[in-house]
């Protein structure tokens, strides 16, 4: 419940405040958002399977975002930032898909 409320509140804040993304953050923000989405889907799946743990979620959320940003940062330093960004997004998308499939099976049995 608090998760849904928090998400709605965050979106409203973003729409109302219209903040400018700092330049140094611009390459990392989209990747970080996708990584966080992966953590959210994983958490939802764990909830349905009865193994959700608040502590695990918080740590995995932050770790996901940090690792994704770190990979992109490293790629930029190595001159393969664009390719690594694509790779990270692809991997996260695959995970989101598999989590979404598990959620679907849990909720609808299909």
């Amino acid at each position: 419940m608090i998760a849904v409320l928090g998400l709605v509140l965050g979106i409203l804040l973003g729409v109302v405040l219209e903040p400018d993304v700092p330049v140094w953050l611009q390459p990392y923000l989209p990747i970080a958002v996708v990584a966080a989405l992966d953590a959210v889907f994983g958490a939802l799946r764990a909830t349905l399977e009865g193994i959700f743990d608040d502590r695990v979620f918080v740590i995995s959320f932050l770790a996901n975002v940090l690792v994704a940003a770190l990979i992109v940062f490293l790629g930029d330093q190595l001159g393969v930032g664009a390719q690594l960004s694509t790779g990270v997004v692809v991997v996260l998308a695959v995970r989101i898909f598999s989590n979404a499939a598990a959620i679907r099976r849990s909720l609808f049995g299909a």
Binding site: M1, I2, A3, V4, L5, G6, L7, V8, L9, G10, I11, L12, L13, G14, V15, E18, P19, D20, V21, V23, Q26, P27, L29, P30, A32, V33, A36, L37, D38, A39, V40, G42, A43, R45, A46, T47, L48, E49, G50, I51, F52, D54, V56, F57, V58, S60, F61, L62, N64, D76, G79, G81, A82, R95, N99, R105, S106, L107, F108, G109
Partner: protein
Amino acid sequence: MSVSTPPNPPTTAEARHRLGVALRPRRTRTQAMVGALFVVLGFALATQVRTTAADDGLSTAREEDLVRILDDLGERNDRLAGEIRDLEDVRDELLTGTDQSATAIEEARARAAALGILAGTVPAVGPGVVVTVRDPQGQVDAAALLDAVQELRDAGAEAIQIGSVRVVAQTALLDDDPGSVVVDGRRLEAPYTITAIGDPRTLASALRIPGGVVESLRNVGGDAVVAERDEVEVTAVRPAEDPRYSSPAASR
């Protein structure tokens, strides 16, 4: 984040019950933390979506991409500049070409006019003399008139006409009955009027020279009156004939 898969996947009823439990608000410290994380996620999501929708794609592009885009633009710029140069060259060429052909046409016209006067295909006007040859005794023959024509040519006459016949290179004079000659097949009777365009003074003095045309005509019983004019008209023309056998040789 997914954790290790449990040995038995939950049944649908179990999963729905757990979802209902999870949606029930609880007040723990980690729950607050989770809520805060979701606020951050929603905030970042909305911000990123708005930024992506608003920007032109350049402000978020990577350095290498920007360099590549800049290179592309530079190349394109060079190519277009080259095109501009080529087109300007073509334009200049066309402009000078037009000038040149206009000049050439002008020259050709002037030349055609000059050649037309020489060939007798166009009327001519200019200063010159009018010579009236009288022949009361029928003693002036074709040879005497030819002498007059030759004398005028030598003196620089550019266009000559006897009576109503233009005198050109091929003109032939034949004797006919006394008091008349045949010029280019046309019979002319005395008095003969010879009109010649050229320097009037030179032409007149050439005819009047002692032992010249005027004196010779008087010797055979004829008479010639030379009138110098500021403007005489040679109106007779001769049709241009296309050469049957000869064609212009290629110029050097």
